[in-house]
């Protein structure tokens, strides 16, 4: 083995000067076909990713469509002040953080638990069937999920309330009820994502060296101990990376779900930044204001993901970049 690496090290510097002999322009010319392959993509990313980034300047302008992004007069931080002076802004920020933190704290461990449970199944047909079923909710839209929820939970003939009534209890209006709002948001989010989320953990678990389990068994570890001391540490890297990514999303609570599930009755705990941006911007036409709110959200999200990454680098020596 050491010999092999030596050969690699030796042969590497020999190769590099050979390529470097050709001028950069010549190499670019030789690859011209590949630049043509990249060209439509580059144009697309400039238009659909980078121009909207420039479009953020709308937040600092009194934007109107007649004068366009460039021509509209500057407004400074007017719209940021407007948002922070808005009497509901604190509530909206709080709701966003509360909902996404609950999703993170309750929702994050769920796929791990599912993967660990599935890993203990020895009948492969059963395991495969459960897995296939578990992916199903990932493939349906939020509109369908909320329609299902509404139909199942309606007090007018919905099966859940029929069961409640059959037990002699009062029917409950679940949807649009402030007492059940968070429970429904979190549980439907988990229902939709747990199976899909477990894929990556199952893959990581299947990569664990079986000798580790043998060794643990020799030391007298039962299944729980094996899970705790072998399986979990082996998937720690994956967990950390996914956790960092999830931390970046704390400022967004999931606009599709909340746009659909938040009703006037629950708005005091269900109005979140993502939805507020859409309502203010797309429905009320307050473009500059909504962009300012969205920018605030985006910057905090970016700071959070960078911070989580730095902390993880120090503590775990695992990081995204």
């Amino acid at each position: 083995m050491p010999q092999q690496t030596e050969i690699n090290i030796k042969s590497y510097p020999n190769k590099v000067p050979k390529i470097k002999k050709k001028s950069l322009w010549k190499r670019i010319w030789e690859h011209r076909v590949f630049y043509f392959f990249l060209l439509p993509g580059i144009i697309w990313f400039v238009i659909f990713s980078y121009i909207p980034m420039y479009g953020i300047t709308i937040a600092f302008k009194d934007f109107n469509f007649v004068q366009g992004i460039l021509g509209s007069p500057w407004a400074g931080l007017k719209y940021f002040h407007q948002f922070f002076n808005y009497y509901q802004s604190k509530e909206i920020i709080r709701n966003t953080i509360v909902i996404s933190l609950m999703k993170l704290l309750i929702g994050f461990p769920m796929p791990i638990i599912l993967a660990l449970l599935l890993n203990e199944i020895r009948i492969s047909k059963f395991k495969k069937t459960v897995q296939t079923i578990s992916y199903l909710p990932h493939f349906i839209s939020w509109v369908v999920v909320v329609t299902l929820l509404q139909r199942l939970l309606t007090p007018y003939g919905g099966p859940v309330n029929e069961l409640i009534a059959a037990m002699g209890l009062d029917r409950i209006q679940f949807l649009g009820n402030i007492n059940y709002f968070y429970q429904l948001i979190i549980s439907s989010d988990i229902w939709k994502g747990v199976g899909w989320g477990a894929i990556i953990y199952l893959a990581a678990i299947s990569g664990v060296d079986t000798q580790l389990y043998e060794a643990a068994k020799m030391d007298g570890a039962n299944r729980f101990r094996q899970m705790w001391h072998v399986t979990l540490p082996s998937i720690r890297g994956v967990m950390v990376i996914l956790f960092i990514l999830a931390c970046g999303g704390i400022m967004s609570a999931g606009y599709e779900q909340l746009l659909l599930m938040n009703t006037p009755a629950t708005t005091s705990i269900g109005n979140v930044l993502d939805v507020y941006v859409i309502k203010a911007g797309l429905e009320q036409g307050r473009f500059s204001y909504a962009t300012a709110v969205g920018l605030f959200q985006g910057i905090i999200g970016l700071i959070l993901i960078i911070a989580a990454n730095q902390i993880s680098k120090k503590v775990n020596e695992t990081s995204l970049w």
Binding site: I19, V33, G41, M53, G55, E120, R151
Partner: protein, 298 residues
């Protein structure tokens, strides 16, 4: 022997997972039963697993509804066109990125990575669509979704594993790079193309947001937006079932089975969901790999 295998933990574990599978499946069983029920019967008696007054009338009626058929056509069109273009363009981009000698290769990867960290947000995107004339056009369903960073990375990772010897021998035979891509790379990459096709296809099929906020013409709306309209109508009405019973009879067709807005909605939901549910189990082994590459490399 058998008794020894079934520890208490195993029994609990199997029960838990069976319960989990049931909770995942049950809503679909219920909706299927509802959509196959006589609308009036479904309102009078609770449904749990089996239809009440079994009938296909709900399905027959929605497939005669021109509004629904038009929406279904839009959904199919955007899914087919959007998926084909996305897969082809991303694959072409990814293939170029596999060329290790390409000057600027890592710059291009970085260039498309940045937008995953920070984007312009909803409003600047809307302004852009308006300036481009995409608002209220069919192409708003396709053009903004032509490329995706994670899909490009999954494709690139797959292409990198392909043996280079085939490409080299094709080159000796005088094949151009584009021809190599079409004739050699793409045919060898069926699993990854299917995976990416599934990801983006499901997105197109399920996307209701674009139709709701960026399109106003009624004949351009996809099925999911239609479902969203039905949902918000139904949520807005304090009690959906009562109003359904009021309007349900007004349809008053001279058939044995009667439909209600609610039973028609359930049939619409079934038709809007079933195609995906039929496709994904067959692509399972492919997309599982795709998810792994996407989340590890991304």
């Amino acid at each position: 022997m058998v008794m020894k295998k079934w520890s208490i933990f195993s029994i609990i574990n199997y029960t838990l997972l069976a319960l989990f599978a049931f909770c995942t499946l049950y809503p679909f069983i219920y909706i299927l039963a509802y959509s196959l029920s006589d609308g009036m019967e479904a309102m009078k008696h609770p449904i749990y697993f089996f239809p009440k007054g079994f009938t296909f009338q709900n399905y027959i009626e929605i497939f005669q509804d021109t509004k629904f058929l038009q929406a279904y056509k839009i959904t199919i069109l955007r899914t087919v066109i959007g998926t084909a273009l996305h897969v082809f363009l991303c694959a072409l981009f990814a293939y170029a990125l596999t060329k290790k000698t390409l000057p600027g290769r890592s710059f291009f990867t970085f260039f498309i990575f940045i937008p995953t960290l920070f984007g312009g947000g909803m409003i600047p995107t809307f302004v852009l669509y308006r300036e481009l004339g995409l608002i209220d056009s069919f192409w708003v369903y396709v053009i903004p979704f032509l490329y995706n960073f994670f899909n490009i990375i999954v494709l690139r990772t797959f292409f990198q594993q392909l043996p280079t010897s085939l490409e080299e021998s094709a080159k000796i035979d005088g094949c151009g790079d584009f021809k190599i891509f079409i004739k050699i790379i793409l045919p060898l990459s069926a699993p990854v193309l299917a995976t990416i096709g599934l990801f983006i296809g499901v997105f197109h099929w399920n996307d209701w947001f674009t139709g709701t906020y960026f399109v106003t013409s009624k004949n351009l709306l996809p099925v999911q937006t239609l479902l969203n309209d039905l949902l918000s109508q139904s949520l807005a009405q304090a009690n959906a079932a009562k109003s359904a019973s009021e309007t349900g009879t007004s349809l008053g067709l001279q058939t044995i089975a009667q439909t209600t807005p609610e039973s028609l909605r359930m049939a619409t939901l079934m038709v809007a969901t079933l195609p995906i549910l039929c496709v994904y189990p067959f692509l399972q082994k492919y997309f599982v790999k795709g998810v792994m590459i996407g989340s590890v490399k991304g």
